[in-house]
Amino acid sequence: MTESTETRSVGERTTSPEAPAADERENRQSTKQVGLWGDAWRDLRRRPLFVISGVIILLLLAIAAFPGLFAPGDPQAQDLSLAREGPSAQAWFGYDVLGRDIYTRVIHGARASIVVGVLSTLVAVLIGSFVGLLAGYFGGKTDSFLARFAEIFLGLPFVLGAIVILSVFNAGIEGSPGTVRVMTQVILTIGVLAWPISMRIMRSAAIAAKQQDYVNAAKALGASHSRIIFKHVLPNCLAPVMVYATIALGQFIGLEATLSYLGLGLTSPVVSWGMMISDSQQYIISTPHMLLFPAGFLVITVLAFVMLGDAVRDALDPKQK
């Protein structure tokens, strides 16, 4: 290849007097290779907000993955003689109205809540990001059309929309539909109603990114649209969407609880925090621990994700450094 020999011959002239003296005084203090994410990670590890929320979330994930390790009992086991008994040494969180151990149920309920939260966030963020990326990058008519389309969904009140969707889909079904089916429905409902928010975030990030010179440079070097969108625009738009995703995850867990509370979400025998809160509604005055423990877990989980989102946002924002 003639190219490489030519390259070498030119390279050897590096020592000519006009060699970049100024450039050689280049700051060499950072020999470690760090990009935006590496930098953010270093920054995050030093933030107490991140460490605390991170530990809580890891613990919750462990609970969701292996509930048996934390509470070996059966969440459905009933003993009516123990009904509504308060917290004690054998039952840390007390018993509910059917005499089921609340601690065991809270632990086993984490899985449903977290699965719904994670998957609905994934659905919402993936749809939203993809649509937003296309709208932002192509602009013009594509953008107008996609933005109007998103606004239709954005115009639906969240809870009302979810009630309508879920009750319509389950209208014809006798008895209780299967667990997987209900979970899928809840996840898709939340995803479908929430994607316009991440679409908007991604869209504005993509609009900002596509005006950067590196997009022009990629174009000028003959990169195709898909290469530019996914290789050059997308990585520069991830930060705001990631932040939104962490915060949204917390919100969606809360939303699942709302839907379950309204009787539209998960139903027995699946255990979820929302259902437990729903079960407690008639006994709030007489048996407050039925509400307090699942609600407490819910609040801590949502808070942990929102805190994580805040920490990630701060770490990824170069202006705050």
């Binding site: 490489s4 030519e6 030119v10 970049p20 450039d23 950067q212 010179d213 022009n216 070097l221």
Partner: protein, 339 residues
Amino acid sequence: MSATDDNTGGSPGARLLEVEDLHVEFRTRESTASVLNGVSYHVDAGETLAVLGESGSGKSVTAQAVMGILDTPPGFVTKGSIRYRGEELLTATEERRRGLRGENMAMIFQDALSALNPVYSVGFQIAEQFRFRRGMSRRDAMTKAAEMLDLVKIPNAKQRVKEFPHQFSGGMRQRAMIAMSLALDPDLLIADEPTTALDVTVQAQIMDLLDELRRERGMGLILITHDLGVVAEVADRIAVMYAGRVVEESDAESLYARPAHPYTEGLMASIPRLDQKGEQLASIKGLPPNLAAIPAGCPFHPRCHRAQQECREKLPELHELGAGRRSACHFAEELISSD
């Protein structure tokens, strides 16, 4: 894709690029601005054409139109022709044009920091082209990327290839940008104000580098700038642009010796000179015209100290003055013959 027309520059003197009577409009909801009003210039293999002019004169828009990266909307090419080695580009398919970019013609930008993607290492961005247009493996492409960095005289290229744009100094970033645009060995390089964002010592180094690479590779180089000082040393020919038109075209020497257009004259007079210390710096009075309402006649007449009645009424054509010089001034002949 034509990976085969890889002849480095071709025979010197071969006509590489020809822009003829190029018209570009920027259409917004409120108005239509005529950004280019009949730009014509050409570049031969192995030569440097400097395109000179103040902001808004259409230098960069012409370059974008040549590269085919003009944002449409708002920019529309309404008339004219751009030929690369005789091949009309304006009617070529997008696929063909994309194939030409990088491979046959490349462009470097003013601000290398924003022209390099912050989330990838410098090497990755150079290697991308080798991987996806030459089908090289990731590792081979990285090696080639390091060679390219070495070619543009970045010291310690093997190390630096893994670093990110923000870890490079301004001059190094511009070098990296040059390496990136030369990766596929194009025979036409458009440099859009490559040294504007750099300090003076680094400017000279970058210009020298570009000049050297041009000579070695026999590339045609279009150097877009508003800095007459930068141009003097490296340009073979100079095209001066004003209000979307080439108003003077000449070999560098004659232009510096005796400008054939009052605008060029004004530009030359506004270069600070040491022997004028203490005096007021000459400047061209007035502002460049609003491109949505270009004055009738010669667009420069409101600012021209030689303006006559004729200038207000009749648009001067770019006409031959002999010896490859052209000027769009009614009084060009007088300008070059007077003392």
